[in-house]
């Protein structure tokens, strides 16, 4: 191959499409290097984790809703972790911790970016595959290995790690601090290290693919907003996960090699309990949140990108303010690195430093508001089609507004000191990034399911799924704001010992009941998903949503290489809806003679 051919490497992939692969089951479904199959692997692994993580939340909600009751069936599921039918405090903390870790990293990071970055990047930019399909496969298998290790940590005798998903020392650094700090924590760290490697391999691939492999005519400002969002997500991941890795390496040394990076002098009853000296537990928090805050946007940005795309398609209107959307994505990505200490207002941070972080945190409201207004103006006077994907996209905007507003409260150090570690925080982040991103993920699955499997999902089930989840999300998390304002702290096993929180017993029972109903509804979604893969109504047109982006120019069931012939050339941006009286003009249609480009 000549030097020139290497620079345009993806043209070399052309032969992919021309000769038929004789693939075995292993090479097609397991060690696949096709980005579409890898996306499905990420999606389904993510779903398994979502069910497990959701089930954990049901179990601890059972404890919070019915603190005195005993459920004999729990003992048959959890064994010694629910002696006499009541979850033990250790098991409660383990459940809360694992629920957090699993949902944040395994579902909303790997499950969301892993799925849609892999699926959409090559299809929407017009590439045969990722820049390095092999690294892409490795990325999934590192994630799989991380999953196995995390899963096995739940079966060790002393239980999984139980010091919260943030793994603050000393609970995470001292093996004797709690039962979960023993081998459960070792496995937790190993799983997370493997996860970091997976996200690094994936992220580098996404960046290189978006920069290098765009088809002819696909300039950066003709990229769909999904791709821009996934690009910033990948950059955030590549720059923030390594800091977490450093933090974990120091943690491993503290745990196993007698160092004191995070351990200062610890006294029990005035007597020095350990030989550690001179370290700083706050140091870990800085390293952790330097990842932890960008992580929020790693979770949120892909959802934002997909929502923008789905809204434009289903409003039959161009996205309002493309450049403003792009600029606000960029602003959010930059600010994401400058606000981490707002998680640490109560650590004894210098108040001046705190006020700087307050300012930077509140600045995020500006790009966020720009995005919200642009979504609303995209809907304004649109010819809206309420497909399930569209409903979830609108639901995302609703949740992002309600959760975002409480973010302004929490971003103020003075208020945060009162609200820190209460249910107000739980309500805030579950609405704004947890449930909202899940909605983005649902929207994406419903919208791109026809492209993934060549079939439609069942609409009636999808509408039930949407309305129950939408109403349920607010019914679960809205009351938590009141509990938090009243001072009810998070991470407590049993509130009934406090006179002042007894008044919330009914409310807690209500929340728990709704949580169970919402969880059951998600099983409906899973049923719909797997049933539709095999038995769903078949897609008969190439472009079922009448969308402009390139993925709909591929065959209904695209093979490895995506386009059987030439890759289409791009002549316009992806949002030509309702232009000059034409409902939609796909990106590969040349600009007409008297037509002005947007």
């Amino acid at each position: 191959m000549s030097h020139e051919a290497v620079l345009h490497g993806h043209e070399g992939h052309d032969d992919h499409a021309h000769h038929e692969h004789h693939e075995t089951f292993l090479s097609k479904y397991v060690f696949s290097m096709d980005h579409k199959m890898i996306a499905k692997q990420f999606l389904i692994t993510g779903m398994v984790w979502a069910v497990l993580g959701g089930l954990m939340s049901v179990l601890f909600r059972l404890q919070l809703g019915y603190p005195e009751a005993s459920f004999p069936f729990l003992e048959s599921i959890l064994g010694k972790w629910a002696k006499g039918g009541q979850i033990t405090p250790e098991a409660y903390y383990a459940l809360v911790t694992t629920h957090g870790t699993v949902l944040v990293f395994f579902v909303l990071t790997a499950g969301l970016s892993g799925t849609f970055a892999n699926f959409l990047i090559p299809l929407q930019i017009g590439a045969r595959d990722m820049a390095s399909p092999f690294m892409n496969m490795l990325s999934y298998w590192f994630f799989f290995a991380a999953s196995i290790v995390m899963l096995s940590s739940m079966f060790v005798e002393t239980g999984p790690f139980s010091g919260g998903w943030t793994a603050y020392p000393p609970l995470s650094a001292l093996g004797d601090a709690s039962p979960g700090s023993k081998s459960g924590m070792d496995l937790w760290i190993i799983a997370m290290a493997l996860f970091v490697v997976s996200s690094l391999l994936g992220g580098l691939n996404y960046i290189a693919t978006i920069l290098n492999m765009r088809t002819k005519g696909m300039s950066m400002t003709r990229l769909p907003l999904t791709i821009w969002a996934l690009f910033f997500t990948a950059v955030l991941g590549v720059l923030s996960f390594p800091v977490l890795l450093s933090g974990f390496i120091l943690l491993i040394f503290d745990r196993n090699f007698g160092t004191s990076f995070y351990l200062s002098d610890i006294f029990v009853n005035g007597v020095g309990a350990l030989s550690n000296e001179g370290g700083s537990a706050i140091l870990y928090q800085h390293l952790f949140w330097f990842l932890g805050h960008p992580e929020v946007y790693i979770i949120l940005l892909p959802a934002m990108g997909m929502v923008s795309e789905i809204m434009s398609v289903n409003s039959r209107k161009p996205i309002f303010g493309y450049m403003a959307m792009l600029g606000s994505l960029f602003a959010i990505a930059v600010l994401a690195f400058l606000v981490w200490a707002h998680h640490m207002f109560v650590t004894g941070l210098n108040p001046f430093l705190g006020s700087v972080f307050v300012l930077l945190t509140l600045l995020i409201a500006v790009p966020s508001a720009i995005k919200v207004f642009n979504w609303l103006t995209t809907l304004w006077r649109g010819n809206i089609r309420f497909t399930p994907g569209m409903l979830f996209a609108i639901g995302f905007v609703s949740l992002f507004i309600s959760g975002g507003l409480t973010g302004i409260w929490l971003g103020n150090a003075a208020l945060d000191i009162h609200l820190h570690d209460t249910y107000f925080v739980i309500a805030h982040f579950h609405i704004v990034m947890g449930v909202a991103s899940m909605f983005g993920m649902f929207a994406g699955v419903y919208h791109w399911f026809p492209k993934m499997y060549g079939r439609y999902m069942n609409n009636s089930l999808a509408y039930i799924h949407f309305w129950v989840t939408m109403a349920g999300a607010y019914m679960i998390f809205w009351p938590m704001h009141y509990e938090g304002l009243a001072g009810m702290p998070r991470r407590y096993f049993d509130y009934s010992i406090w006179e002042s929180f007894k008044q919330f017993a009914d409310l807690n029972r209500f929340i728990s009941t709704v949580a169970m109903i919402v969880f059951a509804t998600q099983l409906l979604f899973l049923m719909n998903f797997f049933y539709s893969i095999f038995k769903g109504r078949k897609v008969t047109t190439q472009n079922p949503w009448q969308a402009n982006t390139l993925e709909w120019t591929t065959p209904i069931r695209p093979g490895h290489g995506n386009w059987p012939g030439e890759i289409p050339e791009v002549h316009r941006w992806p949002y030509d809806y309702g232009k000059d009286g034409v409902d939609f003009i796909p990106q590969d249609v040349p600009v007409g003679e008297n037509e002005t480009s947007h």
């Binding site: 580098l204 960046i207 693919t209 005519g217 300039s219 390594p242 933090g247 004191s260 000296e277 370290g279």
Partner: protein
Amino acid sequence: MSNVTTASTTEAKLWGGGKSPFNVEYGKVMMWYFLMSDAFTFGAFLIAYGTVRFSTNGWPDPNAVFKSYPFAGEGTNAPLVFVSIMTFILIISSVTMVLAVHAGKMMDKKGVVRNMIFTIIGGIAFLSCQAWEWNHLHSEGAWWGMNPFMNGDGTASTSNFTNFFFTITGFHGFHVFSGVVINIIMLIMTLLNKFEDRGHYLMIEKAGLYWHFVDLVWVFVFTCFYLL
């Protein structure tokens, strides 16, 4: 005016899709982003080191700690001599790497082989020096969790001096080791005519980027632990 128009059309062509905007293949884009990511890993380590060091009263004087060299007798006082030699070796290995990359661009297989061998020798020499230094410090009673050295002002020192020293130089050493392994693979591929057949030595260039990065990181690590 016409200059501006030309510049913007060239830019539109660069970023217009269908080709790499930087005129490089994807592997190099990935390598640059990987190096940025790795810079954050080391950055986090060194910032952690700074945080702990400046919140601790007193710190050992590097001139009093790193003052020996191989085959020197007890009580030698040659501060920083040995580490200067190590640093020099590593920097020279970067020079030979540049020569290897240059030879690759000239499609000069012999030049690539020769200079890759020099680079690998340099890397192994650096690692051996580090092994000797670690061994020597260990024999003086220094290890993770153990610090036999006194602060510059004669007071007792915390173990975080040695904790950070071994962790960060160890992590850097691990990078050098990976670099040596990569370079050996590159050498074997060169000898097997892999790059000759491909018509380019881009892999050598990418390995070179990594190698220079590892050198650059050493400059910071060296400054933090031996000079400050």
